[in-house]
Amino acid sequence: MVVNDPEAGFCRDCLRLQRGPGRRCEACGSPRLLRHKELYRLAIAHIDCDAFYASVEKRDRPEVRDRPVIIGGGKRGVVSTACYIARIRGVKSAMPMFKALEACPDAVVIKPDMEKYARVGKEIRERMRALTPLVEPVSIDEAFLDLTGTERLHGAPPAIVLGRFVRSIETEMNLTVSVGLSYCKYLAKLASDLQKPRGFSVIGEEEATTFLADKPVGMIWGVGKALEERLRADGITRIGQLQTMDKGDLMARYHAMGERLWSLARGVDSRKVDPHHDMKSISAETTFNEDLSRLDDLAPVLRALSEKVSARLKAGSLAGRTVVLKLKTADFRARTRNRQLADPTRLADRIFATGLDLLKKEVDGTRFRLIGIGVADLGSPDRADPADLVDTGAAKRAKAEGAMDVLRAKFGGKAVETGYTFGKGSRGKPQRDQD
């Protein structure tokens, strides 16, 4: 295998290895050259699709390619993804739709088509798995890859394998991704964020501490608003400050988190890329166009959401033991109700029945603007939904659900419906989805 000098690197457009220190590719003239002292030694990557939902829609609808596109739902929904044109105009994800439209009145608003995104995301993931079995999905369009030891298999170091991967996604799927390459997950994730879209950033071991020193502490994995505030109160705002502090002091002050602060500030992250990484929960929720208060109105929506959650559990070979119902009242108060089941489940029937039972206790005339249902405490489906001595109907309903799944896979999501959602139009169907 011929590997060139990492200082010369390769061209991200034509993948040609470079020989000299020129600023443009010696073969195609592109300025997108990747060079780094440790380029061919690093093997942990984080890959993130650029404005995923929006990019998929732009790909499939060429007429909106040059227009600002916002993916989100309903007049009261929020932005789930904005394309880069819309982002330049100030649209951000999670922004209420009316605000986004104030900032960008000519935006094309597209309702999310989760099934399509899941399909595309799955294809990308399959392509990642062709590179290494160690793929840890973070979300539908994002994953960590550990390419350690794949050099002989691919006949090229991880950096070049990733370069080829990015090219193939661009040419064969018409989508762009950003890559971060480093020696640990934490820095790989930071790197992938450095130059989006179509980025490819490298953070080597040697430069890690210097790179981190002037970054805000909020960039440490696990430091949220609350901890950032607490650190600020203690006079710590930059990661560099943590680098000079004593591990014992940090642990005394911030307990378990102190150790993490100490290590991550030094670029030490021992987390492995775990293909079976536990997802904590799977959920789906929707905001109504008008507030709802009656069980008759809420139940069909809950049913549709339960089916969606169940479909994802089945797709991910997962089952969960805790059903979580989430409601938001018209005055924005959140209500969350949990119920633990005796056995893990992946059936829409059980998720819905449990959610409905929880919902019945909350329906007291209060007007709700949002409902969501989720399953937590996830694990393998081996022990899910066992046969039941008492509820003999459960086995029948499980079979019926299996048959419905088969029909839906063949003829589409609305091929078979239960009476709950049938004929309800958009009522039973969520307008927006956020996980």
């Binding site: 119920r339 005796a342 046969a387 039941d388």
Partner: protein, 372 residues
């Protein structure tokens, strides 16, 4: 109110009543125990609105009266007082606090007015009968482990008691199930129980009752209607609401056509299950039983840690069979069996299995197999 009594008497009674009080309460008075001094006794009462326990103990009453104080606090204080000491409980002049004085220790507890203490109105009972505490204990012990904790099926969160004719004899039967296993125990129906409604006694009541029937050789008086039940055991009275629901038709769950009979030494089988299941840390792991050739081979596979296998000799003449069960459920059942042997009646790897004690025709267990 001013009353003096032996610490040991007070502790024993408080121990019975204070457990009813939930640790966390949104209604303050529910954290309290009602103390009532009258005649020559001190009566204590605690409730969680579904269950109420009252107990009286002899005391020297200097001044009759009543008040309520935090139950767990009072119990913890009395528990820590020296053995053999005397305790004086005295409500202060203002009525807002009660002193607990013993030897050189004194405590002052805040009171809530006795009038605020909720009464679990029992109404009238339709049936009354008496039974030995040992019999009641037996029915509870053999079935309690199978009570479901699943809230969605609230009607399984207790033991179903009912009477029925069986072979020309009237039986009092207790049944509990969580959908994975079912336990059924019965005894000759006590006089007075005939015609009683089928009732579901909630789990918490069952476990409080179980602690009370530990005193052997006392008669228990049972009074019940279709919404309430009351047990009187000596000086303790436990009154409870019943679960308002319909217990499923459990009879059709009990298989009748299982023809493969397995007889196995209860103790060595239980120990073997316990040993092989060590390998599976995860809850709900299955133990596989390969039955045939005069033995049962138990296997547990845990992809993360390894595997375990053990052979146990057994009497079995039918076609060989492989079947899986939840290890914990098998242990629960085998530990209920009092005799030396356990009898399994099996059909196939996917159907409910019947387990019984050849020496005890009054108890029966059904286990749902697991996929292995």
């Amino acid at each position: 109110m001013r009353v003096t009594l032996e610490r040991s008497n007070l502790l024993k009674s408080l121990n019975h009543v204070h457990r009813v009080v939930e640790r966390r309460n949104t209604i303050p008075i529910l954290s309290n125990v009602l103390l009532k001094a009258e005649g020559a006794s001190l009566e204590m009462k605690a409730t969680d609105l579904d269950l109420e326990v009252t107990e009286a103990t002899s005391a020297q009453v200097d001044q009759a009266g009543a008040t309520t104080v935090p139950a767990h606090l009072l119990y913890d204080i009395v528990r820590k007082l020296p053995d053999g000491s005397e305790v004086m409980l005295k409500v202060e002049e203002d009525g807002g606090s009660m002193s607990v004085i013993s030897g050189r220790s004194s405590f002052r507890l805040q009171c809530l007015p006795q009038a605020d203490f909720p009464e679990l109105t029992a109404g009238s009972f339709s049936h009354i009968f008496r039974m030995d505490s040992d019999d009641l204990k037996g029915l509870i012990e053999k079935t309690q482990f199978a009570i479901s904790t699943e809230e969605t099926r609230y009607y399984l969160n207790g033991i179903f008691f009912h009477t029925l004719e069986d072979g020309g004899q009237l039986k009092l039967r207790a049944v509990a199930t969580d959908g994975h296993r079912l336990a059924r125990a019965e005894m000759e129906a006590p006089a007075g129980s005939e015609g009683m409604p089928g009732i579901i006694i909630p789990r918490k009541t069952v476990s409080e009752l179980q602690k009370l029937v530990d005193d052997p050789d006392i008669k228990v008086t049972v009074e019940l209607s279709d919404t309430k039940i009351r047990f009187t055991l000596g000086s303790v009275i436990l009154t409870s609401k019943l679960i308002d629901g319909t217990f499923p038709d459990y009879q059709r769950v009990i298989p009748t056509g299982n023809d493969k009979e397995l007889l196995i030494d209860r103790q060595s089988f239980g120990q073997a299950v316990d040993r092989v299941s060590t390998i599976s840390s995860e809850r709900g792991r299955a133990v596989k039983l390969a039955i045939g050739n005069g033995q049962v081979v138990l296997t547990v596979n845990n992809p993360d840690s390894g595997s375990a296998t053990e052979e146990v000799a057994a009497g079995y003449e039918a076609d060989p069979l492989e079947i899986g069960f939840n290890a914990k459920y098998l242990l629960d059942v085998t530990s209920q069996i009092g005799g030396s042997e356990a009898r399994f009646l099996l059909a196939d790897a996917g159907s409910p299995t019947l387990i019984s004690d050849p020496a005890d025709p009054d108890a029966l267990y059904v286990l749902m197999p697991m996929r292995v």
